[in-house]
Symmetry: C2
Subunit: 241 residues, 2 copies
């Protein structure tokens, strides 16, 4: 975040509090990103230990959410922020709710990884799943980066990654349905792959939500429920970037 | 909500603002409840007109969310509420985010209803889907009711409905997997039923989130990520109700 943003506050203590919540949301986001990487790896390679680590680590993300939400509410009560300070705290409150759910989805992928058998992995579109995971991880990374910099242009670019993710998602689901058709005995296990793919897609969706809060913070405009084109216009002022 | 809550404010205007956001979230919640009822009916009966109404009405819920979120942010900036007033505004901000997503899921069910064929309806567990829809609708209704009354006991009872909903969900998914196995040609259409069932289950989950905000408002305790048992203890003080 632009250091000028913090210089404007007369109270150094308030500055420190706002910087503190930004640092903590970045730590939380970093953990969610790592959980997503580990969950995808567990699914693709069948690494049971990694899957179990993902499952047993989710409580850390939950605890971070509850603590950070509490800190933000305290800041609202004690500092009574207005204008951009208020928008920042609101953006943090909303973003941590999304991050927490992203952690839940990563945990779900970890659980599903334990159900899939080696013979399923051999026929399932695991390369595509891995590629989708890579895009989702990059999208989380860029969303968090746009958040810490409060860079609306970067947020718009990050949101656009969702197009590739959705396209891979459709392709994987199509291939999984073909697998079920070829080998009906595999249906329950292939359904676990379907749920994992869905969970990965939803992590991307929620990374997109975080980008929308960045655009709202920077532009003071609510870009939820608008198209990519409209979002780009709001964020850049001319619709080109 | 207890009318004493509003009497405590010296400013009648502030009272009117808080009452206003409660009225508006109830209107928004009522629309979400109706969309859920209509989406389930469209799926069960194949009523195309109803499905299309659900799909074309979702924008209203989105617009309500954006407007209400803006009003809440303005109240935070101008009134700088503390204590229970602040907790109320925070509960509203979080609840409208869930309601908006519930509307999205209802729209998804409406879309899926258009894909399912009459011959699928004849073999699919539509009675169970209808029963699950009834429970979800009741849970939304009770969650909203607990919100307007800020009744933590009622909120706990509403959360517990999720157990029955999850049980029906598991049963429906099991039956749908059996259908796919019997008739592999039907897999793509049965998958649409799977997505609709999942969407309905998620509406219930989010109604549960709203109940948690009520408990937080009343008790000042964050009950996310806790068990039913723990939640009952936090809400009632003795764990029995």
């Amino acid at each position: 975040m632009d250091s000028d943003f913090f210089k404007q506050h007369i109270s150094q203590q308030f500055n420190a509090e706002l910087e503190g919540i930004i640092k903590r949301i970045m730590a939380m986001g970093g953990l969610v990103e790592q959980q997503t990487i580990d969950a995808v790896e567990a699914m693709v390679t069948g690494n049971v230990e990694k899957a179990e680590t993902v499952i047993t680590s989710d409580y850390k993300i939950n605890a971070m959410e509850v603590a950070l939400d509490e800190t933000c509410t305290q800041i609202l009560a004690r500092r009574q922020p207005t204008a951009s300070d208020l928008r920042l705290v609101m953006a943090v409150i909303k973003a941590i709710a999304d991050l927490e759910r992203m952690g839940d989805e990563a945990e779900r992928i970890g659980r599903m990884a334990l159900h899939v058998l080696e013979k399923d992995r051999e026929v399932a579109p695991m390369e595509e799943f891995k590629a989708m995971g890579g895009h989702v991880q990059q999208m989380i990374h860029n969303a968090l980066d746009s958040f810490v910099r409060m860079d609306a242009d970067q947020a718009v670019r990050a949101v656009k990654m969702d197009i590739q993710i959705d396209s891979l998602y459709e392709e994987i689901i199509r291939q999984l349905m073909a697998l079920m058709r070829e080998d009906p005995d595999s249906i329950p296990r292939v359904m676990d792959l379907v749920w994992a793919t869905r969970a990965l897609e939803r992590i991307g969706d929620r990374a997109g939500n975080i980008c929308e809060y960045v655009i709202y913070f920077v532009k003071g405009k609510d870009v939820r429920h608008t198209s990519f084109e409209q979002m780009a216009i709001e964020a850049t002022g001319d619709g080109r970037e």
